[in-house]
Symmetry: C2
Subunit: 342 residues, 2 copies
């Protein structure tokens, strides 16, 4: 039995996964996908590395930094290969705060067809962003080897990952080996046949993946982190405190978060905590807090939150009309039901 | 009587308004504001000048082009004054297609407080855009003296107006006299105390205009132009044709328009007509057409349209939760009820 078990593991491409923080709640083990509890998230403006959500599509590669090299190549580009040491020494170190937003965060709310798993084909992961975005002098792209001052962990792309702030996390390729300037998008499964949005009436029989653009910038969204769904809360002076985060793609600033405890009859404007950044470079999330009045005789209250960004885009009210077969882009109002202690 | 009438007119700052096309439907006479019928709008990709909507805040100035000059000034700027002739000869002529989107287009749908008119104080109209936007080499700003190949009309800013595509029309100042680079926003009424969005629960007693940013980029929107509300239409093979336009701020491309005739139980993807532009420079509108099935026994059908842009932002379902005291930013699903001829 012991021998068989060992043999199995050696055949298992997931045999050498890194250890993860016990607070991470896995949504899948192979590949490993996990999120921290929402209430832990808003405890810090900068999420501690070990609590950062993990979104992998394939086994985590084991890369020896001595063997590591990055190749830049493509149309009109003189091919350049850099070791990790050269990358660190030849280029100035640059820091930025960015929220990495998964297209499928909050996917569980749109999970109708989620039984179909990712089609991991074994080909290397690849992703593309428009050259206009990657080379935009007003924007930022990072080849990151540190996260919160520490070397990247294996789960987050050791030794080097791309950070393209304001763009869906799926393009911020981890364990980066090649950068290619090209007239064609990556042919990878995740660029071509995943991470795209469709009309709610398109199903797996009628979907034409070529008809939709790959997700790049994400829409405006917000999340209620405290209280969580089903929590028991006690009002103080007739009010309860609500906390969460909001974020928008393309570096658009969050300009307002509205919260309601009465299905939108009255909305309350939250207090925002955010970085002071230049126009169009609001890559980090915005934390928010607000106190909302609750019915003194009520047993339950349903809390809704919606954010508004600097282009005054806001969230759709419900998932009904934004549902899509891949379950991505789930940015409807976040709704949480809590029990009131009298 | 005749003399009195004439005297009145001479005192009237609106005595010398230009003539307008009879198809324009005025929503106000002084200042003159008017829109063409929606069905005429989608007849052309480029709206004929005389049918272009007019949105004025004050009387239309009479400018003699011989006397005209434009002054550029401000912090770190050597003051420069240009005549119209110099403007035309010293700079290369540049063309672009852009939809000018008024913050209050479709305002009538959100008109609860519209009885309060614009506070025209008599000060000159002024507006600001962030320097990052105005000077962005990846973006475009035009000092326009022609429109569809003809000199600008008086209503549209003769002799020179700014065109800041992707940004609310209120910043595309007409009858342009000064461009000022400054650390402070324009103190004009329209920059400070209008063209801002607020939480639905903020009213005229509680509004703090300083709390909201001036509208720059607008959110994604769409309009059904044909059939119009109340039209009688006959289905052909069980279907009716629907036409309209869609647009988004910030140069974001319209990637999809979904249309439903059954309250969203089934959505139909429209065919799009749009310019082929670089990423982030989709300033023009997108025209769309779709055929949707209708109930063969139905007397009426309600049609809804919603657009999705390249950041996958979409429209809110109803005005209920985006209502604001200035009636701007009305980008909920457009809904039209038509009568079916059996
Ligand atoms: Mo993702
Ligand atoms: Mo406007």
């Amino acid at each position: 039995d012991d021998v068989e078990h060992q043999t199995k593991n050696m055949d298992d491409p997931y045999a050498n996964e890194p250890k993860r923080h016990p607070a991470l709640k896995p949504t899948s083990q192979k590949p490993f996908n996990a999120e921290p509890p929402a209430a832990l998230l808003v405890a810090n403006f900068h999420t501690p590395n070990e609590l950062f959500y993990v979104r992998n599509h394939l086994p985590v590669p084991e890369v020896d930094e001595k063997d590591y090299s990055l190749t830049l190549e493509g149309e009109g580009v003189k091919t350049l290969t850099l070791t990790l040491d050269e990358l660190k020494k030849k280029f100035p170190k640059y820091k930025l705060s960015a929220a990495i937003q998964c297209a499928g965060n909050r996917r569980s709310e749109l999970s109708k067809f989620e039984g179909l798993d990712l089609d991991a084909t074994g080909s290397p992961y690849g992703a593309s962003v428009p050259a206009e975005r990657a080379l935009d002098p007003k924007s930022e792209v990072l080849l990151a080897y540190e996260m919160n001052g520490e070397p990247l962990s294996r789960d987050h792309g050791f030794p080097v990952r791309v950070i393209i702030p304001g763009v869906v996390g799926a393009r911020s390729v981890k364990w980066l080996s090649n950068i290619i300037l090209s007239k064609e998008e990556s042919t990878s499964h995740w660029q071509q046949n995943d991470y795209k949005g469709f009309c709610p009436s398109v199903d797996w029989d009628t979907v034409d993946f070529k008809s939709a653009p790959a997700i790049q910038e994400l829409p405006v969204m917000s999340l209620i982190c405290e209280p969580g769904n089903g929590w028991r809360v006690k009002a103080k002076d007739g009010k309860i405190a609500v906390k969460g985060y909001a974020w928008s793609g393309g570096g658009r600033k969050i300009v307002r978060v509205d919260v309601t405890g009465d299905q939108g009859k009255t909305w309350h404007v939250a207090k925002l905590q955010q970085e002071d950044k230049k126009h169009g470079r609001h890559w980090a999330w915005t934390l928010w807090t607000v106190e909302i009045p609750v019915d003194p005789k009520g047993k339950q209250t349903e809390i809704w939150a919606k954010a508004v960004d600097s282009s005054y885009n806001t969230q759709p009210e419900s998932s009904a009309h934004i549902w899509n077969l891949r379950g991505v882009l789930s940015n409807a109002y976040h709704k949480v039901i809590v029990n009131l202690i009298q």
